[in-house]
Amino acid sequence: MRVTTSMMIRNYQTNLTKTTETKMNYQNKVLTQRNFTSVKEDPSAAAKASNLTRQYLKNEDYMDMAKSLQSKLDAQEDSVYQVVKYAEELFAKIGKESLNGTNLEQRETYANTIVSIRDSILQSLNAVYSNTYVMAGANGTEAPFALDEATGKLQYRGVDVDLTGNTNTLKDYRDEPLYMDIGLGLEFNNGGTGDEIVSSTAFNIAFSGLSAIWDDASSGTGGVELKIGVGDNTINSTEAQNYRNAIQKGQGKDNMANNLVDLCSQLALELLQDDDNFDYQSCDAMLGKLKEFHQQADNSLTGIGVKSDFLEKSIDRMESNELSLATQLEQVVTPDMAIAITNYSYSQYAYNAALRIGVNILSQSFIDFMR
């Protein structure tokens, strides 16, 4: 083969460029600590990294969401716990004491206490967390519970709870879900085209206080007014008289209010009856119902606990996911620094050698040795 000077130079330049390019690539890997700095360098790894990054960010969002929901559940739990405690105090202590050989004067004191506890229960049912009423189901911007000033009856979202005609509406309110996406594969029915979320694919944070204090199977008092301590907040004998006019002695045990709040009012009104009209049996039956409501509220508390536990486990799963995704991402994106630095050092060595060879190639020819 005939070797010419221009051929040697072209060859040298081509190879020196290649060596420089290799050195620069390895240098970039070390400096950026990335396997690639553009998609073209490794399209499949880049696509994988994009998907992993997306999953990582979503996982982070779901974790934030789950932690926020956990706080909401804590607030719900606190409020229901208060209700449970009040219910327990009512049936286990105050209610029983008020029936044991008391006269009207003593019963008036107990009635006052019961009305006061009723109002506390109401406050707990209207508890607010982060500008949202925690027991309002999917209607969190408005206080869910109130006592009607005219009738003294409990209303949920403006609907009288103790009226059987309202049962279906109240059930709709109570059961309206409020789903949150916590990475369970959020999906709507009918293959995504429907308007209802597939319940297993999202977390239902809605909690209506009705679940804790309302017996949806009971027919209630049948529309009897239970006004006591409402409006001017004073208890007077007229209220007790009105109650007695509306309900005959002995009917109380058959026409008990279908919710904890109204039952408190009803019990207080019963205790306010004079000795002739006082109906021990009705009061006793009401205490029995109070105990049932205590159990119902306690069950709600357990239900919240189960949800909270599920969230806790979900957060654990997400934390583990985060670690796994971060590891996978690192494997795809970050080079093994030992290998990267070794490669860089070797490429630097090759580059230096190429430069040294260049000095020899370019300076020497036969002409240098001619005399």
């Binding site: 000077t5 969002d61 926020s68």
Partner: protein, 530 residues
Amino acid sequence: MLRATFAGFSVARGAMSASMKALDVTGQNISNVYTEGYTRQRLDQTSFAPGYGNYASTNYVAQIGHGVLVTGVSQIRDPYLDIQYRDQMADVGMYDAKASVLEQIEGVFDETMKSAVKDAFSDLESKLLDLANSTGSELDDSIVRSSMQSLVNLFHSNATSLASKREQVTDDLETKMIPELNRLMKNIAELNKTIKSSDILGYPALELRDQRNQLLDDLATYLPIEVKYEDEKISSTEKVENVIVSLVMKDGTRTELIDHDKYGKFTAETTNKFTAVTLDLSNLDPNNTTPVDITKLNGNNKEISINGGTLTGTLNMLNSAGVFDGDATTEKGFGYYEQSFDLLVDKFAKTLNALNEPAKDNNGNPVGDGGALFVTDPAGAASFTAANIKVNEEWIKGNVKLKAKIDPNSGTTQNDNINKMIAALNDKQKFENPNKAGEVLFEGTFYNYYVDIESTLGIDQQATDNLLKNHITVATTIAQSKDQVSGVSLDEEGVNLMQYQQSYTASARLMTTLDEALDKLINGTGVVGR
């Protein structure tokens, strides 16, 4: 046959002259050892021996040659290597142009080292999740709006950037490449004329041929060409070389670009983003007044009629949109990335707008929150594009609100419609080819379609870079072979220097030897008796 007494002197003089010329040629070679395109020269000489075969000669007379005859100076060049080299350079030019444009598009879409559209999609979902967790809050609605505004700004930014890069490439083609092509053709034609004149005068014009070869090599990087050398008779005995350069069309036919001193002229004209290139051949043939259409932009057939060279590579990138052209083209140029991105934007805007449509009462009247989140600017366009999409001003003013719940009568913190939007961001959408009914180009989330655009670009770049590297390697190998034949070797020229110097010395020595011999004859003989 008697030998002339002083014949030896002319042999020595001829030899000295030839050696000196050879030294001159060696000097020319050494001087141009680093000159790009220089072809090694060689002194052509033959041994000179006139008078053989005279009928008066006898077998007993030794016939001796009359020295050396310099017949000319020639170049050592292999035309086959030129053809191979130019073929390869056409491919190098084409893939180089493509790689260069793809690199510009990479600057727009590649988000490996920057935070843009992909992160904005993630941020939007994050904000929607926040809103789902706090529906009814005026503040969160505006946070989602800000996130969508950022996304729309990034759509605009990519669209503007892409348009500016397309404009730059178009401008380069019109103001640099086409004038450069025309300049090259003109210069080659002018050199043809000068070389022909030199040939007629008997001057070989080797350096001009080098220049012409260099220009032909340059032309070959722009266009697929074929170079033919034809002898043209200028008298009954004399002929000169004529060069014909033809454009190799995709269908295998040839279109003459340069014939001797006549040459064609390329013209580029851009209308509605597409650049049409035509070749005017009226200078070569006055009867041929219809320019050759290189780009064929009529209808859907955008396949250009040549295949190779920077011009092809650039035109492919400017005029081809891959699958969006139907079956017409396969190259994914600017159009492919523009239309893919527009498709993503259109689907995204229409999906979210549909989800935000207000609910209707029994009479079909809208009730509750809702309304278009995105509108086109100017208003009324049938499709959203990355350039025309904008966040509805009515939303910014508060006249349109994000529809949080599907049923306006459900709870105040109900978020099922926000969840629908979140689900839509994670659902597999079908991205259909707007120019070919029923053809699904991609099925996946908005985010993944962007990743797909990014990956398609990366894969195309990788393939183009690899092809470019391959063609450069082959071209370099051929260039090496050309250097092997036509390049100057300083070692060889050094040896030549010694050789011709020795040859010159020997010729001079011959001269003095003859002088001494004749001196003996002239001055040293017949002296008896003097």
